[in-house]
């Protein structure tokens, strides 16, 4: 039996209060082993207090070819940002 071990994506929370951030990937037969490998590979220097592992095949990613259609419309909507609005200096705490 020479089953190829599936790939898992690893997310690490560096300190409590921070979000989990993508750190890399590991190969493992199951979730438990994926956690152990992620611990050995990505937290050897106290880089984390919590680990998530997700089977890579379960991740749906946007297509770079659609990046323009997806993200371009946000670019000309500068009025979504507070700096778009001109307020006289005399007006405080706004």
């Amino acid at each position: 039996m020479t089953e190829v071990w599936p790939l898992w994506e690893v997310f690490i929370r560096a300190r409590s209060g921070l979000e989990h951030k993508h750190a890399g990937s590991v190969h493992a037969t199951d979730a438990r082993m994926a956690l152990e490998h992620a611990r050995d590979l990505y937290t050897r220097r106290d880089e984390g207090v919590s680990i998530w592992v997700v089977p890579s095949k379960e991740i749906t990613a946007s297509d770079p070819a659609e990046a323009e259609a997806l993200f371009e419309p946000a670019r000309d909507k500068v009025y979504r940002h507070p700096t778009f609005y001109q307020i006289p200096d005399e007006v405080k705490t706004l």
Binding site: M1, V4, G24, D30, R44
Partner: protein
Amino acid sequence: MYSQALDQAPREREAPSASPRPEDSAREAAFLARVDAEEKIEPKDWMPEGYRHTLIRQISQHAHSEIVGMLPEGNWITRAPSLQRKAILIAKVQDEGGHGAYLYGAAETLGISREQLIDQLLAGKAKYSSIFNYPTPTWADVGAIGWLVDGAAIMNQIPLCRCSYGPYARAMVRICKEESFHQRQGYEIMLTLARGTAAQRRMAQEALDRWWWPALMMFGPSDADSAHTAQSVRWKIKRFTNDELRQKFVDFTVPQAQFLGLAVPDPELRWDDAAQHYRFGAIDWTEFQQVLRGNGPCNRERLQTRRRAHEDGRWVREAAAAYALKQRERSPAAA
């Protein structure tokens, strides 16, 4: 160093197998514009086949180098001179394994599996850095490897943190942080020996004599003989040429050797005040080619050790896969 074999690969493997399609020239122009603008290329982005192949080759050679690189030092774990040195060496060797894993992961984003890459290594079809085919007869060699080999690796790897391919650049950032520990612990071993007895100083000098020239060869052939440098620089995979990095390494390292009171084994070495560089003697490229071709002092032993480790671990891999399958069959929902 890890890019050294890049310059050695046969040229035909560079050529994309399929004939180029007309839309590819427009895509390639857009790709190059992104590279020029220092944007990172990510796994799902379009990229020229040559870029993909070059990266797979370079990253996998780099990964193999990390894995084979565990062997010369692993040789000393049981004989380290103190418990602290042993703990440090275990941590360093574990880091090298980790570096191999990050890099295989980066290579896998380009559409090749780790199993394929490892098969290529074990079949003797893939290259790894020539440096790991030299033996480590004394404890001082462990110091010299950390100082010189990891030092040369850092010189090569720091520019790779800005490589145009995102996953490789990110792996290199992590690796560079860890390599600094490797280099400093190696220098500290050399320093301890250099401040020790006459016999210890002799041991340190002999290790420097053994590792100096192979360390200079790690940067790969001289620019005049380096077939792929220009293309890799154009793609921003490589930022500096082999000779530029080698010169920088010599300039940094010679004063470190002087501080140790050790002699660099090069009668032609001298400081060029006008150029503000050390000038060094000619490298024996015949030796370099011999080691790359598999005729170095330890090539056969290294591959045999890797093959044996792979075979000895087979039952573990199979048992883990069988266990996972059984668990999935028992409770499909939990899989």
